[in-house]
């Protein structure tokens, strides 16, 4: 069939770029391999290699550009474009379409490697050949993720966004739309996942992926060092990129936390979710690697561990890619991406580089230089080594628990993560955090090789005293009783104070050299902020609406939510809250809640919070929080439940529409309730003027007298039970002021019981929703710590680059 208006050429162009990127990555790796040999042909191989990598790099840019054009022009005939975008999507989210899809996120990763590769080509000098050989090999694997080639019949390598047309996709090919040759004009995309339509999601993924990409640098240098048997010369050149990785990956992870806090409704910034853990763990090992590389550069010890950590970090990045993209996390993480069938490929990728690293380490073990004398317990190297080991063990604990689905699959177990995983992880990680922050505090006070104990004690005593005092003060202010929390509070305050003291005393206030200390202060603040805001987090939305007629008593009843009805004012925490109504803006539904304080019986409005629900008929609604930031705490609120199904009904309800009838049996004197009145069955009468109601003389008629009371007035409703020619034909009675209608359906003459129905006008039904609100005390310490840590790390990198270029 001839389809009209398809833009097939651009797809073919993109596909050419994909193939080129793969082929030239492979060629670059091989040629750099030969260029790394010390023979006469090496220089010519290097030229071939350099050009191969450049062509590879430009092909990658070509892929990015082509895909961007396709997204920008809404070429929905391509399955990738259809899957991740639509016409009404704001343009600023077009970049997010790159990382919503698996193919796009691999592309992002590959892109960053190209940038890093171009930098290394210029700066790596004598290390260029072996390092680039490794990097190009990594690129070849990544490029293969986009190939979309079928081999041996059924097996597909990678997934190619340019070759899969929507109408040829196995899931969608058969639908009737494609019988129409002109289908392009009618086509619109699925659109972006509502969770990604958020500015955090335009900055967090690229930063995080750059962090991931940077871990390839220490890895490649470590491999190169082992390969060329130059065991210590790689440390210095690899340092700047390694610390840059620490900074960027750290910032990326923290951005993820900030996004979770601002945009998700689980109430916090860290959930020990597998996807979160999978990026945290490589960061921990990267920090360990970077510090060991740093001290090793000064005094050749613990070299083997430095190698091991550098290799391990990259392998953990691959493992985390495998975990999050293979679908194996399925039930344990609501973050997990779906399986695109690439898990086998990812596994091969992971195992290959793991084995490469292990084999090289084993082969070179004997040849590595050793230092004979043992490190003194009073040396900086010893404690930094201990610190790196603690980070490693901490990572092991996190990774082991996070990998439960993998153990399940390997050993046929049925382990499920505990309901309280946050408590479980915290119980392990809090002690580790304590140990690490203690080391961060005292590490710099140790000198290399050895420190006179007396001198050390003297220098450290001032920060210790200050920290103890501050800890006592804050523990008292915050009412802390948990000993472990107090310990961690002490150690994080100590880390910040001791490093600040180091800047003023040991460095003489020289800011330029203070990068590391500043970063350490930031780290201490992060842990302090995290500790306080999480341990003292308070849910303030207890259900105070008390609207129940019957009370359901349940053993595990969870009272974390408050029911807010439009027009009511309820106490919540330190405020009174009033739900004023819903607001519709585009696809978002905002629930406006006023926060009032009361003084002498007058209410003053302090502020308004509007948590929202982003409606998305195709992909499901998503609740997003609204948070009020104060200096010393945050009030975080989100929609736990909102009856949005009836939104359309409410908007369309005319003044005269009634709800479905509620039938009820009553004896004389019984009382029932409508949403706005009390209803009492007073009496029946049979003596009345039937003709007034159009009732025939032969018909049986009984009138019920119903008293209807609201706060201000008393009304009477008189529904009539009529039997006309053997059928029941009740006559309704209305109370218009209250929007109520009554009908009389049955009567039991024996015991005087009647059955009536009550209907309310739809406009009576007050709008409501269920909200959860929490207070996070002192959470600003966390965010300040993030900024300070990033700042300090960048300062240290710049200083190091400045020093090395002046030599």
């Amino acid at each position: 069939m001839e389809y009209i208006g398809e833009h097939l050429v651009i797809g073919k162009v993109g596909n050419v770029f994909v193939i080129l990127s793969f082929v030239f990555a492979l060629l670059a790796s091989v040629s750099y391999f030969f260029a790394a040999r010390d023979n006469a042909e090496a220089p010519s191989w290097r030229n071939i290699a350099r050009w191969s990598f450049r062509i590879h790099g430009f092909s990658v840019f070509g892929i990015v550009g082509t895909l961007f054009l396709m997204l920008y022009n809404h070429y929905f005939e391509f399955e990738y474009v259809w899957h991740h975008s639509n016409k009404e999507m704001p343009m600023r989210y077009i970049l997010s379409c790159f990382w919503e899809g698996q193919e796009g996120s691999f592309l992002l990763w590959t892109f960053w490697h190209v940038v890093i590769g171009f930098v290394l080509q210029r700066k790596a000098k004598e290390w260029e050949a072996p390092v680039m050989s490794v990097l190009s090999l990594v690129q070849a694997f990544l490029a293969s993720m986009l190939l979309g080639l079928f081999i041996f019949g059924e097996h597909r390598i990678g997934s190619n966004p340019f070759t899969v047309l929507l109408r040829e996709h196995p899931d969608y090919g058969a639908i009737p739309l494609f019988q129409n040759a002109d289908y392009i004009k009618l086509l619109d995309g699925r659109g972006l996942n509502p969770l990604l339509q958020n500015y955090w999601m335009t900055i967090h993924p690229p930063t995080l992926f750059l962090g991931f990409a940077l871990t390839v640098v220490p890895f490649a240098y470590a491999i190169a060092g082992l390969w060329k048997r130059k065991y210590t010369e790689w440390l210095k050149p690899a340092l700047p990129c390694t610390f840059l990785g620490v900074a960027v990956l750290g910032v990326g992870i923290l951005m993820g936390g900030a996004w979770a806090y601002e945009a998700l409704s689980f109430g916090g910034f860290w959930a020990w979710d597998p996807v979160e853990n999978a990026s945290l763990v490589p960061w921990l090992t990267l920090v360990g690697a970077a510090h060991l590389m740093l001290i090793n550069k000064n005094k050749g010890q613990s070299l083997f561990t430095a190698f091991a950590l550098a290799i391990l970090t990259f392998v953990l990045i691959l493992y985390s890619t495998f975990l999050t993209r293979s679908g194996i996390l399925g039930e344990t993480s609501v973050h997990a991406f779906t399986d695109l069938g690439m898990s086998g490929q990812l596994l091969i990728y992971l195992l290959f580089f793991l084995l490469l690293g292990i084999v090289l380490l084993i082969v070179n073990w004997k040849h590595m230089p050793r230092v004979q004398e043992e490190e003194s317990i009073y040396s900086r190297e010893f404690w930094m080594f201990v610190g790196a080991i603690i980070l490693l063990v901490s990572s092991f604990q996190i990774m082991f628990y996070t990998s439960i689905p993998v153990w399940n699959k390997l050993f046929g177990l049925k382990m499920a993560p505990s309901k309280n995983i946050i408590n479980f992880y915290n119980s392990w990680q809090l002690p580790f955090a304590f140990l690490v922050t203690m080391l961060v505090a005292i590490g710099q006070y140790f000198k290399f090789k050895n420190t006179a104990p007396k001198e050390f004690m003297k220098k450290i005593s001032f920060p210790v005293i200050v920290s103890v005092l501050l800890t006592a003060l804050f523990s008292w202010l915050l009412n802390y009783t948990n000993f472990l929390y107090i310990l961690l509070m002490f150690s994080s305050i100590f880390a910040a104070v001791a490093n600040f003291n180091y800047i003023t005393h040991a460095l003489g206030g020289k800011i330029r050299k203070a990068g590391a200390s500043v970063a350490h202060i930031g780290f201490g603040l992060i842990l302090l902020g995290a500790l306080v805001s999480t341990s003292k987090k308070e849910v303030i939305s207890r259900n105070t609406s008390g609207k129940s007629i019957e009370n359901l008593v349940e053993k595990m009843s969870n009272n974390d939510n408050i029911l807010l009805t439009q027009g009511d004012t309820l106490p919540m925490g330190n405020y009174y809250v009033a739900y004023t109504g819903k607001r519709f803006e585009g696809i978002n539904v905002y629930f406006d809640v006023d926060y009032l304080t009361k003084e002498n019986n007058t209410y003053t409005k302090e502020f308004t919070l509007s948590p929202l629900v982003q409606t998305n008929p195709r992909m499901g609604n998503v609740a997003e929080p609204d948070t009020r930031h104060f200096l010393t705490y945050d009030i975080y609120t989100h929609v736990a439940y909102a009856p949005l199904e009836s939104v359309k009904q409410q908007q369309e309800a005319t003044k005269d529409e009634y709800t479905a009838a509620k039938n009820v049996s009553m004896h004389k004197g019984d009382t029932i309730f409508s949403s706005n009145a009390i209803i009492i069955f007073d009496s029946l009468s049979t003596q009345f003027d039937k003709s007034k109601y159009g009732i025939g003389a032969d018909d049986i008629a009984v009138k019920a007298h119903i008293r209807v009371l609201d706060i201000r007035k008393k009304y009477e409703a008189t529904p009539i039970f009529v039997i006309h020619e053997n059928s029941v034909q009740p006559i309704a009675s209305k109370v218009d002021e209250l929007g109520l209608q009554f009908m009389f359906w049955k009567i039991d003459p024996q015991d005087g019981k009647i059955e009536i129905s009550v209907q309310e006008k739809k406009s009576n039904i007050k709008d409501y929703f269920v909200m959860q609100a929490m207070i996070f005390p002192y959470i600003n310490i966390l965010w300040i710590g993030c900024v300070v840590m990033a700042l300090g790390t960048f300062m240290a990198i710049i200083e190091r680059l400045r020093k090395s270029s002046s030599h």
Binding site: M556, N561, V770
Partner: protein
């Protein structure tokens, strides 16, 4: 002993501790039947919502109680009482994981995880309006 060896032993001890506590603190995936046989223990039960039976959520009475019927992967159906508010888009869920205990003929869940395919897989191409 060399300091490095002491360190090594400590690390291995801690690592073993991590493994053991992991194995001890996990819950188990089970079916409704298995959960009923051990009514005091907490289990994870995986299943699907029974859309033919009614799901009751009346926040005006109690905003933290939601009941529905679920069929687990072994085919057993049970009434479930969830002690939380009704999750958004509950009807769209393709798979549900409940965390809770069996109590008599019902299952009382304190946590729920849902898998909604509509975010990633679902949705046939449609003509734009």
């Amino acid at each position: 002993m060399k300091k490095i060896h002491i360190l090594g032993i400590v690390i291995i001890a801690v690592a073993i501790g991590a493994i053991l506590t992991t194995l001890n603190s996990t819950s188990t995936y089970a079916s409704f039947r298995e959960a009923s046989e051990a009514p005091d223990n907490e289990f994870h039960v995986v299943g699907k919502l029974d859309k033919t039976k009614e799901a009751v959520y009346d926040p005006k009475t109690d905003a933290n109680v939601f009941s529905f019927y679920m069929i687990d992967n072994a085919g057993t159906e049970k009434k479930v009482i969830l002690h939380k508010s009704k999750p958004q888009d509950f009807e769209r869920s393709e798979q549900i994981v409940l965390i809770g205990k069996a109590e008599g003929d019902e299952f009382h869940a304190s946590e729920i995880l849902m898998k909604c395919p509509s975010k990633y897989n679902d949705g046939k191409p449609q003509a734009s309006n």
